[in-house]
Symmetry: C2
Subunit: 367 residues, 2 copies
């Protein structure tokens, strides 16, 4: 399997919002399409908590990316026209400096000595990568889920860095239901004896904690409505059941969750998960508006924006996207608010390609 990642060395020290700093840190990114001579056709995508920078297949890495149906020639992100960049979040283990990276000061992995991470740091690291490519203004800054919060931070901290904004299934601040879910995911990892305050290894890996965290994630990323149609009360075939396992799985929905957990486990560093999860809880745009969300949004200057949300999203409820749309509009942007009824919940942007393609393709095509 090829590797399409490029790396941008961050300023050293890279100073972080909550007081820490990193030395010799970097972020990984991938690109699609061609940057034009004026460096004026760049679109940056900031990701959710766990995806890598591999948003779509490219020459060096033809494996499908996490938004493969959206990015390419003639697709919503039309790479015949745009130069698309996706940055792996600082703190994520998909190539960027993260808690599993070696601290040059000690020669050992940071683990819990990694400095406190905020989405503002994620935004600043991505901004350095973009300016490192000689791009001073993005045609469009795109953020999905957690990446939507990082994108708000990016625009606040770097006025004039994006001409337009595309906000997908995200929020201007973490609300208590989402905090409760993420706190419980972190707790499941922390309570796993193999987590060992961050000092796990391949032999003793917090699989149980990560499994519970991932399943709780998947439950809140999808919707009850979708599952009624998809799983109903369908039982597993007897040969799929766990033999002699008391209270073992019996329904298809249980095996679906187990499959998700197995694919995730060992593919994502538990400490990275904890740092990025907490950063999501901390994010609150009202900090930039004297405690007021609308005032915080009011400080963001873009010409145009599209804000997309889904009525079945329980983690980032539609009201939160509506708030973003209103806030950006009040700040002077021309805003299009797209409320979808996709049954897939928060994950709709990864699944309901038809509706998201139409909205996003329409927006990017009109710029």
């Amino acid at each position: 399997m090829g590797d399409a990642r490029r790396y941008h060395a961050l300023s050293s020290p890279f100073r972080m919002k909550r007081g820490g700093q990193l030395h010799g840190a970097r972020v990984a990114y991938e690109t699609w399409g061609t940057l034009d001579a004026a460096r004026g056709n760049a679109v940056l995508i900031l990701t959710g908590l766990s995806p890598s920078a591999h948003a779509a297949a490219n020459l060096e890495d033809p494996t499908p990316g996490w938004w493969d149906d959206m990015i390419g020639p003639g697709k919503a992100f039309d790479t015949d026209r745009y130069f698309v960049i996706c940055v792996n979040s600082l703190g994520s283990d998909k190539g960027s400096t993260c808690p599993a990276s070696v601290d040059p000061a000690t020669g050992e992995a940071y683990r819990l000595t990694f400095p406190e991470l905020s989405l503002e740091d994620v935004a600043n690291a991505a901004h350095e990568a973009v300016t490192g490519l000689g791009i001073t203004e993005l045609t469009c800054l795109v953020g999905c889920s957690m990446g939507g919060m990082s994108a708000l931070a990016y625009m606040l901290l770097h006025p004039g860095s994006a001409r337009t904004h595309l906000s997908v299934d995200t929020a201007p601040q973490a609300q208590p239901f989402a905090i409760a879910i993420r706190s419980l995911q972190r707790e499941a990892i922390r309570l796993d004896p193999h987590w060992n305050e961050g000092r796990y290894d391949d032999e003793r890996w917090p699989e149980h904690g990560m499994s519970i965290a991932r399943k709780l994630g998947v439950i809140t990323y999808r919707s009850a409505m979708e599952w009624n149609g998809r799983f109903a009360r369908i039982r597993l075939d007897p040969d799929q059941r766990e033999e002699n396992e008391p209270f073992g799985f019996e329904f298809q929905v249980e095996s679906y969750l187990e499959g998700h957990a197995r694919r995730f486990n060992r593919q994502f560093d538990p400490n990275s998960y904890l740092y990025l999860s907490r950063a999501s809880d901390w994010f609150d745009i009202s900090e930039y508006g004297d405690g007021d969300v609308m005032r915080g949004l009011g400080r963001i200057q873009v010409e145009r924006a599209m804000v997309i949300g889904v009525s079945t999203d329980i983690l980032f409820p539609l009201e939160q996207q509506e708030t973003i749309a209103k806030g950006l509009e009040a700040a002077g942007a021309k805003v299009e608010f797209v409320a979808l009824d996709s049954p897939q919940g928060h994950d709709a942007f990864l699944v309901d390609i038809e509706n998201y393609s139409r909205a996003i393709g329409g927006f990017l095509g009109s710029l």
Copy 2:
């Protein structure tokens, strides 16, 4: 503290739906008010997964019950008029025979040798307790949450046993979102090394698993809307935080969940929890209607019914109560469907006393 529990010895053997049987089993119950000479003023309440039979204070046990504001002279369950009975579910550890009880055949606690439990067994045990009091027809059979499913089973298995029915925040079958949540709660307990396939003791108790299970319960029993108003993003005072605990609690909503988990832990037997949780997943009224929910409901004969649900309930969504209302109506009952907008989610029946009192008091007062 007094104890108001009475006990009813179940038929021995007590044969269970899925093939097992219990010898010398019993259920605990409490009562309020006076049974009239004709034994015609009885109201039976079947509970959710964890409550005891102590629904309200009474002479022998003046401590507040779990539905204290609803039951008493002049209250919604007016004990000047009705004889109210609340039965602790078979399989629950609040006085009824359960996995923590001693198996007379071995002299040891059943633990996982307790037979497979279904809500039909819970219903049959409650029915034996009621007939044991000389009551052949209840004026009203009331079921809340899991107890609402037990109540449907009760009426199906014992035609003519209830003249009217009050269905509160429940469902005619477990749907995949609820199954996923409960499966994950069970998994958290099962993965706790202290669970030890059901052979825990006071020294090695699956506190971590029970804590995660309870917090996930509370998250799904309440609603995001309520928490936005109640907790917003309020931080804990520094002296309430956990010192030196990496990723320790920081927001009030986290400490609220922790308080719930602490109050629950060691108050409920983990194996009882597993058995009752799985019984909830198994319940499906369509089994009584050739695979069709409406046909299953169509076999229930009551004169009148009130079905109450809440728009913010994510565990037992309002559509499920609407289905019950339509099914009972199609079967010939006079049905009143009450859709409330209480912000408290599934738990509204325990919290929004004003609206539930008005509805339930109105219904019981009109019988």
